[in-house]
């Protein structure tokens, strides 16, 4: 009997704890403590065994301290669940307790990385609209089954309601990743990786790696300058990285509408399962580049507290689809956000206003080229190639802004409003619930004031301070529309 009791207690203990793999996670933050014995070890490199032993006990003590600390944190972090709420005890010695009612949860997610899959663990994130915390309200690393069980409890998955599922086509996903992967985002990921690696190892290694790769390539392309080979390597590498990241993230992507919830599943490398409260979605944003606009395809992102807010995540509910498919998908998934017609738009008249700054920037490139040729006359070839490369995005920006002149506007209906605008190279169509707008600003430069134009800046309820800027609208018309909809005085 006593044995049974002991086993039951042990089981009970584990039932309310995180997955033991979390102990390793807790060690990583304090691993820097290992530097202390390492420095001591370096001092003792005179091969004197006695002094080595004298120094070694510090190593053992430090490592034991790290694991003991991690184990203590693991023991003190636990959670309790009842029918309507979850309480997570966190912080040192479990002193901080966070209690969440299931009814107030906006997003609950279970993410399982490849390393976690080996141990059968998964990370559970629970978010609410309590705006005081920008981080997640509750984060727990749990055995996968338990995490899924809690997710089902919180999201009330047993609710009897019809399920509508939208799955993205794999061919179109492949095409999307192939044609629309951004080199810039790839380069950012690559730079992030390099930065993290240089923190652990040494900066010289990454420089050597890049130089070796560039050196190998320049053996076959001797006529091309070395700088250009390195640049091309970074661009192609960045693009490839972005391509694979996109593919890994959106493979097996599906969205299901189930009662008041939206259930999103995606990913190969990291398997993601997110459940959102539909009524708490603030807005959806149809995002596309110029190429995507030409091919009439787009991506739809949503703003909902907790969804897609972690690093390298995008809050998408439709990674890639044609405009027609997107309309159908949105009417199924978020019927409450209906897109109104644009009441105030820009056009031919505002064309110069949209393109004047990009035109000046692209004219600045040849001027800069001349200056550099004057200062560095030996580097003419390199400067020519770099100025050509630099002029391509500038000219592209002129084209994008010219198209933006015909795709900018604002519109309202009884419940929602729509903003069409272009930000850098991307086109956005944001449909938001009118009640979720928190601040409206009218911006005017001196030139705009003289000509009677303005830009409207709109902020909505959000976790972050995000602004939507609709540029170059006639000020009188804009003000009258805002006034008639109760957004300005």
């Amino acid at each position: 009997m006593k044995q049974h009791k002991a086993i039951r207690r042990i089981r009970e203990f584990f039932r309310h704890r995180q997955h033991p793999v979390k102990i390793v996670g807790y060690t990583s933050k304090t691993l820097w403590l290992l530097l202390i014995p390492l420095v001591k070890y370096l001092v003792a490199l005179r091969f004197d065994i006695r002094s080595w032993l004298v120094t070694n006990w510090v190593d053992i003590l430090a490592i034991s301290a790290i694991f003991a600390f991690a184990w203590l944190r693991w023991v003190f972090i636990y959670f309790e669940i009842d029918e309507k709420s979850i309480t997570a005890h966190s912080g040192f010695f479990g002193l901080a307790a966070t209690k969440l009612c299931f009814s107030s949860v906006t997003t609950v997610s279970v993410h399982q990385g490849s390393l976690q899959r080996l141990f059968g663990a998964a990370t559970l994130y629970i978010d609410t609209n309590a705006k005081s915390v920008s981080k997640c309200d509750i984060i727990l690393v749990l055995p996968k089954k338990r995490a899924e069980h809690i997710l089902a409890l919180v999201s009330d998955e047993n609710e009897r309601a019809v399920k509508y599922t939208v799955e993205s086509k794999k061919r179109s996903q492949l095409a999307f990743s192939l044609f629309f992967s951004s080199t810039l985002s790839g380069v950012i990921i690559f730079a992030g990786l390099m930065f993290e690696a240089s923190r652990i190892v040494d900066r010289n290694i990454e420089i050597r790696l890049l130089n070796t790769a560039a050196g190998e390539i320049s053996k076959y392309t001797r006529s091309i300058p070395y700088v250009i080979v390195v640049t091309a390597l970074i661009i192609i590498g960045g693009w490839l990285l972005s391509f694979f990241a996109n593919l890994m993230r959106y493979w097996h992507f599906s969205v299901t509408r189930h009662g008041r919830r939206l259930i999103v599943r995606s990913g190969i490398w990291t398997v993601r399962h997110d459940v959102m409260h539909r009524d708490r979605i603030i807005y959806y944003d149809m995002t596309r580049s110029l190429l995507m606009k030409i091919f009439k395809i787009c991506t739809v992102n949503v703003s909902c507290t907790g969804y897609g807010k972690r690093r390298s995540e995008i809050p998408t509910i439709a990674p890639i689809a044609t405009d027609k498919e997107i309309d159908k998908t949105l009417s199924i998934l978020i019927p409450s956000l209906t897109c109104p017609k644009a009441m105030l738009t820009t056009g031919k008249r505002e064309l110069w206003r949209f393109i004047c700054i990009p035109v000046f920037i692209s004219l600045f490139v040849p001027v800069l080229r001349q200056v550099f040729v004057f200062i560095f006359p030996r580097w003419v070839d390199e400067i020519n190639i770099i100025s050509f490369i630099a002029s391509v995005p500038c000219v592209w920006l002129v084209i994008v802004k010219a198209v933006a002149a015909f795709n900018t506007g604002v519109g309202f209906n009884e419940s929602c409003c729509v903003f069409d605008y272009c930000r850098f190279y991307g086109f956005h169509r944001v449909v938001v619930n009118r009640e979720k707008i928190t601040r409206v600003a009218i911006l005017q430069t001196w030139a705009q004031q003289k000509a009677g134009y303005c830009s409207i800046q709109i902020c909505t309820e959000n976790e972050k301070h995000k602004k939507h800027m609709i540029k170059h609208l006639p000020v009188d018309a804009a003000m009258s529309i805002l006034r008639s909809n109760g957004l300005a005085v």
């Binding site: 705006k131 928190t438 600003a441 602004k467 300005a488």
Partner: protein, 153 residues
């Protein structure tokens, strides 16, 4: 509707601060020019031009164009020097506010009010202490009224 303007005391404080700062920088540049390099004369010239620009254009324009108004339903904030900005925020969307009161603010007028709503912020710059107290007490009342309304609902 109550209208507020940035405090004149704050304008004088900024004038004093800019003049002292530019004098210190000019002195340092003069010292550098005499003993190190001639290039410091150019830096000094740049500092003088910048100081005059700030004192004669930026500060007076900012203080003459800035206006804040608080009414029953909304807050309006007009600011800007080169880009004029008129912001509207519904009182119902205000969630909290932060009053920043610097030491000797009665004499310097360096008081600020940051109004927080969900996903956005609005800042009332350089308010006099009296104005700041008036606005904060009003906002406090509004927030309490909303809380009471939420509780009864």
């Amino acid at each position: 509707m109550h209208m507020y303007r940035p405090s004149r005391l704050a304008m004088i404080s900024i004038y004093l601060f800019v003049i002292i700062l530019s004098l210190a920088l000019c002195f340092a540049c003069g010292f550098g020019a005499m003993f190190k390099s001639v290039i410091f004369w150019y830096v000094m010239l740049f500092i003088i031009i910048l100081t005059f620009l700030v004192l004669l254009i930026v500060v007076p324009l900012f203080f003459s164009l800035s206006r804040y108004s608080v009414s029953r339903n909304e807050l309006i904030c007009n600011t800007g020097v080169f880009i004029f900005k008129k912001q509207y925020m519904k009182l119902s969307s205000v969630r909290s506010f932060t009053a920043i009161v610097t030491p000797l603010s009665r004499a310097t007028g360096l008081n600020f009010l940051v109004i927080n709503s969900l996903g956005s912020q609005m800042v009332f710059w350089f308010l006099s202490k009296g104005d700041l107290n008036e606005i904060t007490s009003y906002l406090d009342k509004v927030l309490k009224r909303e809380e009471a309304a939420n509780e009864t609902a």
